[in-house]
Symmetry: C2
DNA sequence: AAATTTTTGATGCACGTGCCTCAAAATGTG
DNA sequence: CACATTTTGAGGCACGTGCATCAAAAATTT
C-alpha cells in the first residue's frame, strides 16, 4: 500500500539519493555500472516516480494548445465547447487548455504558428490540419524542442502512434453496413456527398464504404462522390442534378463532418424525403435531424472523448510515460434517435 | 498561469495561513466573520486547492473496491480485466483498485461485507448488486463512515446521482429501433430472452423496447419475455418450445448481459438461422458472433469506460469535488462487425 | 477591572521529488 | 608516485498543503 520512494531506491541500490536522482533524470557523469544497479533496484522494488510530488517540486504546470481550423460549422463549435469543459475538469491536475485558430489551407502559416511555440510556455499541441510536408516538418522540429504533439482528428500519416481520432475506414464501412440494412428495397443506388475528396479522411471513409457495400450488399451501387467544397450554391446545384438524373437512388451518405447544408438541401427535395440518410458527427443540428427523421443515423466520434484523450496523451508524453492504447481508442459511435 | 496558494489567500483575506487552513478544512473555533472574509478571498482569487500537494502532505492513497457478483460469465471477466488495467493506468495518481466478490442473491451477506469496510483502508466502493433494503442501508452507513460509494451497472434507485451505468430504457429502445429497421419482413413476432425479469435493469430494457417497437414499428409484436434463470437446460427447453410454437418469429432480442448460452442454443435451431438477432455487451463471444453473423448487432456499455468512470467518481467524492456529469455519462453503444 | 474563554498568529516539520553546492572518494593519467 | 579527472555522497532548500504547538491578542464573562 506504500509506494517505495527515491530514498528506498537509494538504500536498495546501495547508492545515495543524489545518484538515484542523477539516474532517474538522465544526468551526465554516472558510471554505467551504477546506472545498472539503480535500474535493477527500480525493477526489484517496482518503483514508480510520484509525478505529483515531482511536479510540485518543479512547480510544473501543463499548457496544451488545440490548433483548430478557422473555418467550420457546428462540429468545430462542439470541439471548442468541450475544450472549455476539459479546461475546468483538468484544472485539478494543473492543466490549462487553449484554442488557437489556424488556416487549414495554408501550410506555411500553420508551420509558422508551430514554430512560434516554445516549450517554455506550451507543453503540448493537438493539431487538426491536413497533412503536408511543411506541417510535418514543423511538428518534427516542435518535438525536438521538447513540445509534445499529437495529430487531432485530421491524421498525419507519419505519426500514427499518437493519433487521436477514429478509424475513418471503419466509419465508412459502418455507414455502408447500416445503409444496406436500413434500405428495404432489393437494389438501387446510393448518393455520396462530401466536402472534398482531397483529404485522407474522406478518401478513407469512401474506401471503407465501398468495400463494405461491395462485400455485404452487392445489389446496391454507390454513385461517384459529390464534392461541395463548402459552397452552398454549388452544393444545391450538384445535389439537385444528381437526384434528377438518378431516379433509382434509395439511400444517401453525407460523408462530410458538417452535415447541415447538404441535409437542408435534401429535405427541400420531395424525391429524397423517404430515403435512408446517414450523416456524420453529433451536433445540435444532427440531433434535431435524427429526431425529426431527416437523418436516420449518425456516425460519430465523441467530441468530449477526443478532447480528453488528446489531453491525456499530451500529458503522458510530457511526463515521459507510455499511454494505454486501449483506453485512448476512439470509438466509431452509432447514433439513433433512441440513444442520444 | 500561476494558481494562487494558501499564502496568497491569507494575504488577500488579511489573516494568517493558520486561519486559512482552519477555514479550508472546516475546523472549529473560527468566527463567522473571519470565515466569510476567507471565503470572499477564495472567490475573488479563484483559489483552487492543490490536491496533489495536499495528498502529498497527508500521504494520502486511494483504495477503491469493486464489489462484483460471484457468478457470471464473460462480461464479468471483461470487467475484472478492465479493473486490472485501470489499476495500472491510475497508479500514477496513487490509486489502488481491488475486486471483491459478493453473493448477489444474498443481501444479508452483501450488507455484512459493506459493514466490514472502514475508511481507514478503503476510500470507496463500486457496488454491483440488485437493490434491496439491507444493501441500501449498508450503503448509507458506509457513506456516514466516510467511505464513498457508487452503484455500478446495477442501479440503486435511491442514489441516482452517482450512478455508473447506461440508461437501460434507452438501451432497450435502441435494440427495438435496430431490430425494426433490420427486419425486411412487413410484419411478424420478436422473441425476447432474458435471464430474469426480477431486476430493474431487465424491466427497464423491456419497457424501452416495447415503447419503441410500438411507436415506430406497429406491425411487429414482441412476445412475452423468456426467463432462463441462468439455467442452460431450462433455456434450451423454453427457447426451443417458443420457436416451435411461433413460426412467425422474425427477430430475436437477447436481453441478458451474458448472451452466450441463448445464442448458442439459437444457432442450433435451423428455424432461427436467418433471423435478425440482437444481444448485449461486448465479450469475446459476442465479437465472434458478430463476425460470423450469429449476432447482427450488439448493444453495449463500454466496460473500460464503466470502470474508469467509477474510479473518477469515487475519487471526486473522496476529494469532495463535484464530478462533471457530462464526462461521466456512459453511452449506449451500438456494435456491428464493422465498428469493433 | 480582573479572570476566563475564544479566536488568531507565528513557526516548524512532514510528504516525495528536483535541483543545487561542496566535499570526498574513486578512477585514470603521466 | 603525484596529479588531474570523473564519479559519488551529504546536505539543504523549494514546491503547496496538512497538522501540530505555543503564545499573543481579542472577546466574553464574572
Amino acid at each position: 500500500m506504500m509506494r517505495p520512494t527515491t530514498k528506498d531506491l537509494a538504500k536498495a541500490a546501495g547508492v545515495s539519493r543524489a545518484t538515484v536522482d542523477r539516474v532517474l533524470n538522465g544526468r551526465e557523469g554516472v558510471k554505467q555500472k551504477t546506472v545498472d544497479k539503480v535500474n535493477a533496484a527500480i525493477k526489484e522494488l517496482g518503483f514508480v516516480r510520484n509525478i505529483q510530488a515531482a511536479n510540485l517540486a518543479k512547480s510544473k504546470r501543463y499548457r496544451f494548445v488545440f490548433a483548430l481550423p478557422r473555418s467550420g460549422d457546428e462540429f468545430l463549435q462542439e470541439l471548442v465547447r468541450h475544450i472549455k469543459d476539459a479546461e475546468e475538469a483538468f484544472a485539478v491536475d494543473q492543466i490549462w487548455c487553449d484554442v488557437a485558430r489556424i488556416d487549414e489551407n495554408d501550410p506555411h502559416s500553420i508551420a509558422a504558428f508551430l514554430a512560434s511555440l516554445s516549450s517554455e510556455d506550451v507543453s503540448g499541441v493537438a493539431i487538426m490540419a491536413p497533412e503536408s510536408p511543411q506541417v510535418r516538418d514543423a511538428i518534427f522540429r516542435l518535438q525536438e524542442r521538447g513540445v509534445a504533439a499529437v495529430p487531432f482528428i485530421s491524421d498525419q500519416t507519419t505519426m500514427d502512434t499518437d493519433w487521436v481520432g477514429i478509424d475513418n475506414r471503419a466509419a465508412g464501412a459502418t455507414a455502408a453496413a447500416l445503409l444496406g440494412r436500413f434500405c428495404k428495397a432489393e437494389a438501387g443506388a446510393i448518393m455520396v456527398i462530401a466536402e472534398s475528396m482531397q483529404s485522407r479522411d474522406s478518401l478513407e471513409r469512401r474506401l471503407g464504404f465501398d468495400a463494405e457495400l461491395g462485400k455485404s450488399f452487392p445489389t446496391l451501387t454507390a454513385l461517384p462522390s459529390l464534392e461541395t467544397y463548402g459552397d452552398e450554391e454549388r452544393a444545391e446545384e450538384i445535389i439537385t442534378n444528381m437526384v434528377k438524373n438518378n431516379p433509382d437512388i434509395i439511400g444517401i451518405y453525407v460523408m462530410s463532418s458538417e452535415a447541415r447544408v447538404p441535409v437542408r438541401i435534401l429535405s427541400g427535395l420531395p424525391e429524397t424525403e423517404k430515403l435512408v440518410t446517414i450523416g456524420h458527427e453529433r451536433t445540435p443540428f444532427t440531433e434535431r435531424a435524427l429526431h425529426d427523421g431527416r437523418l436516420d443515423c449518425v456516425i460519430a466520434q465523441n467530441a468530449g472523448h477526443l478532447v480528453r484523450s488528446a489531453v491525456r496523451k499530451l500529458k503522458a508524453i510530457t511526463d515521459q510515460r507510455s499511454t494505454h492504447r486501449q483506453q485512448e481508442h476512439i470509438r466509431v459511435e452509432i447514433l439513433l434517435s433512441t440513444n442520444l
